[in-house]
């Protein structure tokens, strides 16, 4: 029972009329404080549903989520989400997007000046301080995602939930952001749960990789420990035997044993 975040026998069935689809089956996962865990699987395997259940945006049919000794079943700032499509409010500036979260979470505990400083601090953390007065439509996709990360970090969440955060970005921008996330994880020691479908990303960033089988009724097929010392350097890992082995294990899982069967 020592786990910081515990996903306990989560089952999820979507019901529409008389038809019902079992998406997740008996998903159980323990995550320690400060751990970086990735969930990988083919699209449609229910990994986003799983993240939404942890976030509280969707409720599990049976089973539950325990965070820091307490069951959680509604959304809250202790489980900040970085959404795949950044989800910044387009009518607010970069600063105001982060400030909205800061004001909401710390309205009772911090003064106005402290909240202002905290907002700027978090923007600086993702190197976005220079664009604080711009609107989301005026910055690039990678920058938007940085702001999304700043907004999530600014809530001081117990767990940071990343929902395919780099999926919509080009390869170079993605690499930059991955480095930033690794650096933030190293500095702040956040507990992070990330959804991804990128094998390299999963191996590079995670302490553990949770591999999901194909849906319906997806379950945790295998959990891989990535025993690579941190800080990890992208270039050094290219020839690293442990890295290559981990990469091979994930690829084999995804493409040999649980190949994605396309519908018709």
């Amino acid at each position: 029972m020592g786990a910081y975040l515990k996903l306990d026998h989560i089952d999820k069935t979507f019901t529409r009329g008389s038809a019902s689809t079992n998406v997740l089956k008996e998903v159980t996962l323990d995550i320690d404080k400060g751990e970086y865990v990735s969930i990988i699987g083919h699209s449609g395997c229910g990994k986003s549903t799983l993240l939404n259940i942890v976030a509280g945006l969707t409720s599990a049919t049976t089973g539950g989520v325990i965070l820091d000794g307490r069951e959680v079943n509604s959304p809250g700032p202790d489980r900040a989400v970085v959404f795949q499509n950044h989800s910044l409010l387009p009518w607010l500036t970069v600063y105001d997007n982060v400030r909205l979260a800061v004001d909401k979470v710390f309205s009772g505990t911090r003064s106005r000046a402290e909240r202002h400083d905290w907002t700027l601090h978090n923007l600086d953390l993702v190197q976005m301080g220079h664009a604080k007065d711009k609107r989301p439509s005026e910055i690039s996709g990678g920058m938007k995602q940085r702001v999304g990360i700043a907004r999530a970090l600014a809530m001081e969440p117990k767990v940071l939930l990343l929902d395919e955060p780099f999926g919509a970005l080009d390869a170079l921008t993605r690499a930059h952001l991955q480095d930033s996330v690794m650096q933030i994880h190293a500095t702040l020691g956040n507990t992070i749960l990330m959804i991804t479908h990128d094998v390299d990303e999963a191996v590079l960033l995670s302490d553990r990789i949770v591999m999901m089988t194909n849906g319906p009724s997806a379950y945790v097929g295998e959990v891989l420990e990535v025993n690579l010392p941190r800080p990890r350097k992208r270039l050094d890992l290219v020839t690293n035997a442990t890295y290559l082995k981990a990469r091979e294990a994930v690829l084999k899982f995804l493409h040999e044993r649980h190949r994605f069967v396309e519908a018709a």
């Binding site: 959404f83 499509n85 989800s87 409010l89 387009p90 009518w91 979260a101 439509s137 809530m155």
Partner: protein
Amino acid sequence: MSMPALKLEKSSPAKMAQAPAAQVVKMPARQRPALAEKIVPFLKSAAANIIPPVVVIALLVGLWQILCSAPGAALPPPSSIIQNSWELIAHPFYDRGGLDKGLFWHILASLQRVAVGYSLAAVAGVGLGVLIGQSTWAMRGLDPLFQVLRTVPPLAWLPLSLAAFRDGQPAAVFVIFITAIWPIIINTAVGIRNIPQDYRNVAAVLRLNPLEFFTKIMIPAAAPYIFTGLRIGIGLSWLAIIAAEMLIGGVGIGFFIWDAWNSSLIGDIIVALIYVGITGFILDRVIAAIGAFVTRGTAAA
């Protein structure tokens, strides 16, 4: 070919001798093209936008003049309108008491009625639109009713309104209200229903309370739709007030037109129509401008 070479030879000793003078000469030389560069495109674009409508209007007025100059024509040509209705055209601000006022005062009276009725419609319309956009049950219950009521022509409400209020003024305001409210309700509801799930998720994670959700997410997200409804609503209001005033009487551009018809002052009617058209155009542009200002940044994601 040899000319520039000659010039160069001549200018080089001159530069050496009086360098500051050369600089002074350069300054206005630089400014002249810069000023011209600014003005010429501006004039060009202004001409491109102004000349076509001016030409079209001139042609139409000319055609009108020719068609209505024939003896026995039912409508007066522009030249005789200017002659007969000159007082109306030249003095929009005169006031001799009663109904004998300049067109400005008639327009103003109509605008006041529209302002009251339209403001009420905007507030109630956005409120009801939020309700049926947000609540499935409210939509199921109210939407069929709204769909039927919105097809009732504005003037059909007037007798009922007169019976209820027993006075022309509030009855006219009610007709404006009931005319303008439907597009506002329907567009607001569509805007609320189209709020992306992402924004709702953000609100959920931040635990925004209903009031914060309303002011910080819902209204800004739906603003483009709301302003579409408001813009259609102001146009309909202006359509309805003219018709309603014809029946109600009193000061107002609608009754002015009816009065002019009864006095067979066809020229006055045409002058009034031009005023009505321009006022309606300005109203539409004002709402559009407010909308553009309020929703700046909202439409682009």
